[in-house]
């Protein structure tokens, strides 16, 4: 599903990614293991088409997303990718339900379809009981589950998580992992960039890829 060929990314004087070659199958659950600054976030950003590489190609279902114009890259992000970041980027003054509504505004879905998707996403992420609450009043774990629900609402094929448990306690981290397992059962392609040891012990993880100083080991 995801084919990365000779990927390089250079920031001014600093080479973040060096000649990355990687293949990820559809439905695979991959961990990107590495310390801060190893290039995990950069790699995820490029796969999610929110950053352009300096050179190389990233093919998703046969299409090179690197050469897409902003018009098509936005479309790719909207339909194929769901992001879960370490900081809970939510609209604080909006409710959980309204936050999940935001990605669906630009789609052509009917009101009923929108409502169904929001409900389904909330139930997978186990946050339905907080639907009307403003996200600023939620706990850390609840915010993270809202972020997951928002990532799922467009029914993406690929879920990209960047240090998702960095700001969670153990209990919430475990709850998060339960949700990820459910996503694995739904046959989503999941890439989690983390150095949290909880993930490497999971049985449902298909592969652990180590990344160090911009190169894969």
């Amino acid at each position: 599903m995801i084919e990365i060929k000779s990927l390089n990314k250079k920031f001014k004087n600093y080479q973040a990614l060096k000649d990355i070659n990687l293949h990820i199958d559809g439905g695979e659950f991959v961990i990107l293991n590495g310390i801060s600054g190893s290039g995990k976030t950069t790699l995820l950003s490029i796969i999610g088409a929110i950053m352009k590489p300096t050179s190389g190609a990233v093919e998703v279902s046969g299409e090179n997303i690197v050469s897409l114009s902003d018009f098509h890259a936005s479309n790719y992000r909207s339909t194929m990718v769901g992001f879960v970041t370490q900081s809970f980027h939510l609209f604080d003054e909006l409710s959980v339900e309204d936050n999940l509504f935001v990605p669906l505004v630009i789609t052509n879905l009917s009101d009923d379809e929108v409502a169904t998707r929001i409900e389904d996403a909330m139930s997978v992420a186990n946050i339905s009981h907080k639907a009307q609450q403003k996200t600023k009043n939620l706990s850390g774990g609840e915010k993270q589950r809202t972020v997951i629900a928002r990532a799922l609402v467009n029914k993406p094929q690929i879920i990209l998580c960047d240090e998702p448990t960095a700001n969670l306690d153990l209990d919430n981290s475990l709850k998060f992992i339960e949700i990820i397992k459910r996503l694995k059962e739904m046959k989503k392609t999941i890439v989690v960039a983390t150095h949290d040891p909880l993930f490497s012990k999971l049985s449902c993880v298909d592969r652990v890829i180590n990344i160090k100083e911009g190169s894969l080991e």
Partner: protein, 317 residues
């Protein structure tokens, strides 16, 4: 000269036009910058930056389009108001013909709106395709539009500053009448021939639209706009005003005639736009449907007063 410029409507019209022109100058600057650096197929961050700039050009053009449409309606309204100050003018027709800049200004305004709409259609085609096939073309097209808008602003200033509040102007019955046996109708057609051509061309346009004949559709739709103008002014208008001497394209834009002019000219404009867009870009079912509907609205709104009058009275004016 100063009397006209101090009229609220005129000073505001010019102020807004000037403001939009300044905005377009910004768009032009970015356009030239993009054209200098654009390399087709490149995927560098520099190229990506140029693509982002093109969105500013797109935004400005879309905004200017909406404003230009509002200003066009305001312009026709202003012309009508000015007829109260300009001696001899009974409606906008007199004001427009008060100097040689009036008609070109009005026609240019319409052409510019049409071109901007086509630009947006071209932009949509360019964005939808994966490799921006029309990127440079649309930017060059914008430069052409920019030049026309500059000319339009210049003409508009000349027009307003040359309207005299002392010299009387002609009213529409004089402007649109036959002068010394020389018919104002093109190709020296009689009224009957003109109207027959009017309806026949409509049928042929629909045929060509469904037969997907690009060039014929394009040419015929432009030709049809031309003869429709004369058909409306010299024939159908008489039945809207119910007066054999009242030949005026402006009076039907007023409340006295329920603003029917906007429906007639508006539907003609929209239909012409769809024809040109379809012939240039795509013969999809939706486009052909839009052509059919808009031309039918035009035909109905322009000829209905005539048919109603004829059926009611049994005679022609």
């Amino acid at each position: 000269m100063s009397d006209i410029l101090l009229s609220n409507q005129v000073s505001i019209s010019l102020f807004i036009d000037f403001l939009l022109f300044l905005l377009l100058c910004v768009a032009l600057f970015h356009t030239l910058f993009i054209l200098k650096g654009w390399k087709r197929g490149a995927t560098t961050s520099c190229q990506y930056g140029l693509e982002k700039r093109s969105y500013l050009v797109l935004t400005i053009i879309s905004f200017v389009l909406v404003c230009k449409i509002i200003l066009l309606i305001f312009f026709t309204y202003t012309l009508n108001e000015l007829s109260n100050i300009v001696p001899g003018a009974m409606c906008a027709a007199g004001v427009v013909s008060s100097n040689s800049y009036g008609n070109p200004t009005l026609v240019l305004k319409l052409i510019i709106i049409m071109l901007i709409l086509l630009w947006l259609a071209l932009n949509k085609q360019d964005q939808k395709a994966k490799n921006h096939p029309f990127f440079k073309q649309k930017l060059y097209f914008f430069i052409v539009i920019f030049v026309l808008i500059a000319v339009e602003l210049f003409l508009e200033v000349l027009f307003f500053t040359n309207i005299s509040t002392l010299t009387p102007v002609l009213c529409c019955s004089t402007i649109y009448k036959t002068i010394q046996n020389k018919s104002p109708i093109p190709f020296s057609l009689s009224i009957k021939e003109l109207i027959a051509l009017f309806y026949l061309t409509y049928v042929f346009i629909l045929v060509f639209a469904y037969a997907k004949k690009r060039v014929l559709l394009f040419v015929l739709s432009v030709f049809y706009t031309y003869i429709s103008y004369y058909s409306i002014v010299y024939f159908f208008a008489l039945y809207i005003y119910e007066l054999p001497t009242h030949k005026c394209p402006f009076c039907m834009l007023q409340s006295d005639y329920y603003y029917i002019g906007y429906l007639i000219f508006g539907s003609l404009f929209v239909a012409t736009y769809y024809c040109i867009k379809t012939s240039l870009f795509s013969f999809s079912g939706t486009n052909r449907y839009k052509i059919t509907i808009s031309y039918t609205v035009f035909i109905l709104s322009s000829s209905l007063p005539f048919w109603l009058y004829f059926l009611k009275n049994g005679v022609l004016l």
